[in-house]
Point group: C2
Chain length 181, copies 2
Amino acid sequence: MLSTERILAAAVEILDAEGLEALTMRRLGLQLGVAAMSLYRHFPNRDALLGGVVNRLFAEAVSAYAPDATWPEALTGFGLAYRRTLLAHPHAVRLLATHPVNVDLGLELLTGLLSRFEAAGIAAHDALTAVQSVGVYVLGHTLAQVGTPPEHHDDAALAFYDHWFDSGLIAMVTGFERQLV
Amino acid sequence: MLSTERILAAAVEILDAEGLEALTMRRLGLQLGVAAMSLYRHFPNRDALLGGVVNRLFAEAVSAYAPDATWPEALTGFGLAYRRTLLAHPHAVRLLATHPVNVDLGLELLTGLLSRFEAAGIAAHDALTAVQSVGVYVLGHTLAQVGTPPEHHDDAALAFYDHWFDSGLIAMVTGFERQLV
DNA sequence: CGTGTAAGCTTACAAGGTACGCAAACGCCG
DNA sequence: CGGCGTTTGCGTACCTTGTAAGCTTACACG
């Protein structure tokens, strides 16, 4: 029996194993032992399906961490966890870039993190700005990393990206620390 | 007479006027008064053509500004100019996200900016980290902005994105200022 | 048992990228 | 000036992919 969940799970499998180009309706149907057109009972079109994959992965990223006590620590932890999840699904990063995460879902998933700002007396509006800034930094950075040609995928490159990521993240978080009282 | 330059210029035109989905080989040929297959004399395939568009737009962005004296000012100016160019070609932003800019071209275009770090005695390696961090922040932020559904494209939204962008950029630059002695 | 509804299937079509080989135009040489 | 190789563009055709439309099967419920 087909279900939204089963379809999305299969989609992520294909994505991870074979990349974005391989994620066609027919290929996905094959994976599920079903005809391509059957998928349209659950999604109006391919784009909606990809959107579902995006929301699923973002949820995975955010659920994978528990926010620390202070907001700078929690914010840093969010950035690290988000990056870790994205790098675990390298072929999905381009999807995240082109299919924005559902805003309401994003806010709901991030309440834990946002509450750390609230506890420090920071306006919700400023908290959101900081969290979103880190979010787009992580996405942009990961895009750059997964976009490098495969011949550069050695240990030195890994170390370079790790260091670069940390520097930028630290700069941003400390910058916000000064900015937000 | 067809040339790489003419093709890329026409591609950007179509992109700006009709969006990324409209940029097909046939449509581009039409624009140039030429058959689709003729384009393959200048590009091995569509992806290479899109890569050309990306490099062209990045060059436009970087050429559009002269770096200020101190590196924090120059870095901020770069971020602002890069964002301005991306927002001037909203349909191209997804391209920039999926087709990384040629590294050597990027470095060459950014020598002016990097020299400001050098003048302050900052290691080339650290300078690159800072510049790239701002670059991916700008791209990520612009992706988020152009990805918002059109019904939210009012003045309030514009102000929101502007403020968010500035906050994140300032945080990052001041963060690097503290980090880089 | 009859029937209505949900789940999946079959077929078919329209785009779109691009391989392949031909044709025309141009430059260079004798 | 004539021949010819090379460059530039074209026509045709093929394959892949998303998806519209309508059919079929099977199960629930009276």
